[in-house]
């Protein structure tokens, strides 16, 4: 994102408009509103990381806001420390708290994320209202402002010229400090979602199975994004405490959370700049709807409802329709220099039960490096489950899986890529809104390697297309390219030829043969016998979770058990 994006021009114009408006209005009231916009923008920028990027509907961002407010107020009022120390604590304390809850929260099913975070927020509210050191329902009074008076800069003597003294009134100093905070928040948000991290986060969020098979591990991302979100929420709370001079349990209340959520949705889910725009639109609303008095939240409710129905991608998404993202630069394709040797895949006595059903029942076979093995069998015979066990999406009840001699059994799915395993899916999932090259590069060492992988599957000329513009057959090739870009030693494919034309199947067969010749162990599940039999060195046939035949294609094809169970009598003729 180093190049200028035309959308950013719109944001800069909006910022100029906002600054102009505040300068022209210039009164204390306008300054206060503008500061409040900045404060909520900071909290919402943080929230975008968890809600937008990790895709978790957390309802704890308001609690982090409150935690920051209380941390700073307690340190400056009760302990008498200077304001900057208080603000530092307002960042650190919520960031730590967020890091502690990040992993248990991210592990939850999506419908319990909201409940768990709401429970935490509820506990924070109970603590704020009922503990003695937080001042109970009254809260804490006399929180010192960021600056007490106006600041005088100069007069400056530059050589023989004297620049007159500039007096900056206190309201402006607060406003400028807050908006420096906004700028810092935007930079931090950009840093943690920079470059290929964005694509990795999108894959983890929208395509979790693919992410696991590609070896993407969300643990670090979750920790970092939660902590940054908590820190920014806390900073916003701290700034508000010093701005208002008072902290009451209301800062932990649900109203703050709903305001942040509404800003994030209206600004555009996942977009930090959108959060600033959302705050600028939403925070002054209560002033417009003053006749509603305390019930300005009706207005927030209406706006939030309208936004989620009419503009689900928010203002930023709407701007994106007008000013699409620029396609990434296309590097020259480069095969990896460190050529990974092929790795034999050995499966022994694999068993998987689902309740009373034994889907895989003692399956053993091996895929030597440099060969293609075809796995066949009727629907429900256990082929996909076998692939899921090998790639770690399901845990076997018994048996061994070895890749290059290394046991995979106890390894989580995301470790298997490092060991050299990659797979493609029968129904591949893709993150939305990304370019083909970004998707292909998600597990690659760099984009040049991803470009080479796109070239191998014949998608090089589509590198700068959006994934949403690809047809079904192209998506399957992209899934394969994404796996190849991880430079595996063994590759497993689930029905790669389904839905392809005869020409495409021929090209795919050539590609898989080439990969095997280059040393890879290739395991292919497919129903197209005209595709699979000529391609494979060996065929393994499953029936009701058991291997009923294995050997060279010709032998298996004439095996009476295989004909009876799967091929049908016409096939042997």
């Amino acid at each position: 994102m180093t190049r200028f994006d035309r959308r950013d021009g719109v944001y800069l114009a909006a910022a100029a408009l906002g600054i102009g408006g505040v300068v022209i209005a210039g009164d204390a009231y306008a300054l206060r509103i503008a500061s409040l916009v900045g404060i909520y923008a900071i909290a919402a920028i943080g929230y975008q990381l968890v809600f937008g990027r990790l895709g978790l509907l957390s309802l704890a961002q308001g609690a982090f806001f409150g935690l920051g407010a209380y941390a700073s107020a307690l340190l400056t009022v009760s302990a008498g420390l200077p304001v900057p120390v208080g603000l530092a604590a307002a960042v650190v304390v919520p960031a730590l708290a967020a890091a502690v809850i990040a992993l248990p929260i991210a592990r939850l099913e999506s419908h319990y994320v909201a409940l768990a975070t709401l429970g935490l927020a509820q506990l924070a509210l109970l603590a704020a209202t009922n503990l003695e050191f937080t001042g109970g329902a009254n809260g804490i009074y006399g929180v010192p402002p960021i600056v007490t008076n106006s600041i005088t800069i100069g007069p400056l003597d530059v050589g023989s010229v004297t620049i007159a003294a500039l007096v900056v009134p206190g309201g402006w100093v607060t406003l400028i400090s807050v908006w420096f905070g906004v700028l810092a928040a935007l930079l931090v948000a950009r840093a943690v979602t920079r470059g290929d991290r964005s694509a990795v986060l999108a894959t983890l969020d929208n395509a979790p199975h693919a992410a696991a098979a590609l070896g993407l591990n969300g643990t670090t991302a979750r920790l970092v994004l939660f902590a940054v979100a908590g820190g920014l929420g806390g900073l916003a709370g701290g700034l508000q405490a010093h701005g208002l001079g008072v902290v009451s349990p209301a800062v932990v209340g649900f109203e703050v959370m709903v305001t942040i959520l509404a800003i994030a949705v209206i600004g555009g889910r996942g977009s930090p700049v959108g959060a600033v725009l959302g705050a600028a639109l939403l925070i002054p609303l209560p002033e417009v709807f003053r006749f509603l008095e305390g019930s300005y939240l009706i207005a927030y409710g209406v706006v939030l409802l309208a936004a989620i129905i009419l503009m689900p991608r928010g203002l930023d998404g709407w701007l994106r329709d007008w000013f699409p993202r620029r396609a990434p630069a296309v590097p020259a394709p480069r095969q990896s220099t460190s050529k990974r040797p092929g790795k034999p895949l050995v499966v022994q006595g694999l068993v998987k039960r689902f309740g009373g059903l034994t889907a895989v029942d003692g399956v053993s076979f091996s895929v030597p490096a440099g060969t293609v093995v075809g796995l066949i069998g009727a629907n429900g015979s256990g082929k996909t489950t076998t692939l899921n066990l090998i790639s770690g999406l399901e845990r076997p009840d018994a048996g061994q899986i070895r890749l290059g001699g290394e046991p995979l059994f106890e390894r989580p799915a995301h470790h298997r890529r490092e060991l050299g395993l990659a797979r493609s899916f029968q129904h591949p999932e893709f993150p939305t809104g990304l370019f083909v090259l970004e998707v292909a590069a998600v597990a690659a060492k760099d984009r040049a390697v991803a470009m080479a992988a796109l070239g191998r599957v014949g998608l090089a000329d589509r590198a700068t297309s959006l994934v949403s513009a690809l047809g079904a057959a192209e998506l399957r090739r992209l899934d394969l390219a994404r796996a190849l870009a991880a430079e595996p030693g063994a590759l497993i494919l689930d029905e790669p030829a389904a839905g392809l034309t005869a020409e495409e199947r021929a090209a795919l067969a050539v590609l898989l043969r080439d990969l095997a010749t280059a040393g890879l162990a290739v395991l292919v599940v497919d129903h197209g016998m005209d595709f699979l039999l000529p391609l494979s060195d060996r065929i393994v046939c499953l029936e009701a979770g058991k291997v009923i035949a294995s050997g060279p294609p010709e032998t298996v094809r004439q095996n009476p058990a295989v004909i009876a169970a799967y091929l049908g009598s016409g096939a042997a003729a």
């Binding site: 509907l57 248990p104 999506s110 009922n130 129905i309």
Partner: protein, 296 residues
């Protein structure tokens, strides 16, 4: 002593029966659309307010005012439920469940603050089901309101049970909840089952609001707390399991009443949240898990 214990027990059962009604509606919507209805607590509050309003239209000296008001509350709230479905679900049928969740958060805000703006933030007293007297059993006095609450809630729960388990429509509703695509494929009109689920959920919420409004009064800010308890009940009873959630809600009310009698309501509430967080930390799928079934 015995009298106090008996009253406490009746109190706990009455609250439990009402919470079960609330959770039943909450989980019906989860089943129908796979999303949390965050405004469900607001519907309970709204039901209480409707009860207060309708009761104020009746002559003051009528017997069994609450029972008279009940059909009106059920009808008005069923319409409110259809409204919720039309506004917060229908336009978002194809959107992810999170969108429905957020839409219901918005709707909850509108209902809560709309009621506050309309009639003010004061708590209001709803009509008693029968009257405010007591019945005496073996020398123990028990409030008629409590017993009538239990009887009404149980009758409604039994009614829902018969509807869901014994009727063709109930089977369709459960089928659509388990697998809406399959249900659609075999000719069940899923839109109808969804609309009825919302209407039924809101009617039950309204009845719960009426039952709570006499003993606990009804305040516009009550909703969030009630919704949270229903939500917690799904952790205990299993996500999307209708009778599990109702039992879970009953357990929560008993726990709350007993702990509050022993210490304070505050401690009971805090312990409830700590408990649910502990459950989720160690059993991320809820206390009894949920139906498995994932295919890559």
């Amino acid at each position: 002593m015995i009298e106090a214990a008996a009253q406490l027990a009746v109190n706990a059962v009455a609250l439990g029966a009402v919470y079960a009604l609330v959770a039943l509606g909450f989980v019906l919507v989860i089943g129908a659309v796979g999303a949390v209805n965050f405004a469900h607590g607001e519907l309970v509050m709204l039901g209480g307010m409707v009860a207060v309003g309708v009761a104020s239209l009746l002559p003051a000296d009528l017997p069994v005012p609450g029972l008279l008001v009940l059909p009106a509350v059920l009808a008005v709230m069923a319409v409110a439920g259809l409204f919720v479905a039309g506004v917060a679900y229908a336009p978002l049928r194809r959107a992810p469940p999170t969108s429905v969740f957020i839409a219901t958060i918005a709707l909850g805000l509108i209902i809560q603050h709309g009621v506050t703006a309309g009639i003010g933030p004061e708590p209001r007293l709803g009509p008693p089901m029968i009257d405010s007297g007591t019945w005496h059993f073996a020398g123990i006095g028990l409030a008629r309101q409590q017993l009538a609450t239990i009887a009404t809630a149980v009758a409604l729960i039994v009614g829902v049970h018969i509807l869901l388990q014994r009727t063709r429509f109930g089977r369709r509703l459960r089928a659509a909840a388990q697998d809406s695509e399959m249900a659609r494929a075999i000719g069940i009109r899923v839109n109808v089952t969804v609309a009825v689920s919302f209407a039924l959920a809101a009617a039950l919420a309204g009845a719960a609001g009426l039952l709570l409004s006499n003993q606990y009064l009804v305040t516009p800010t009550d909703g969030a707390m009630l919704m949270l308890k229903a939500y917690v009940a799904t952790v205990i009873g299993g996500w999307g399991r209708i009778w599990g959630a109702a039992l879970g809600a009953f357990a929560i009310a008993v726990f709350e009443t007993l702990v509050a009698a022993w210490t304070s309501y505050l401690v009971a509430e805090a312990l409830l949240y700590v408990g649910v967080l502990a459950v989720l930390a160690f059993r991320p799928k809820g206390l009894f898990g949920e139906v498995e079934g994932r295919r890559a």
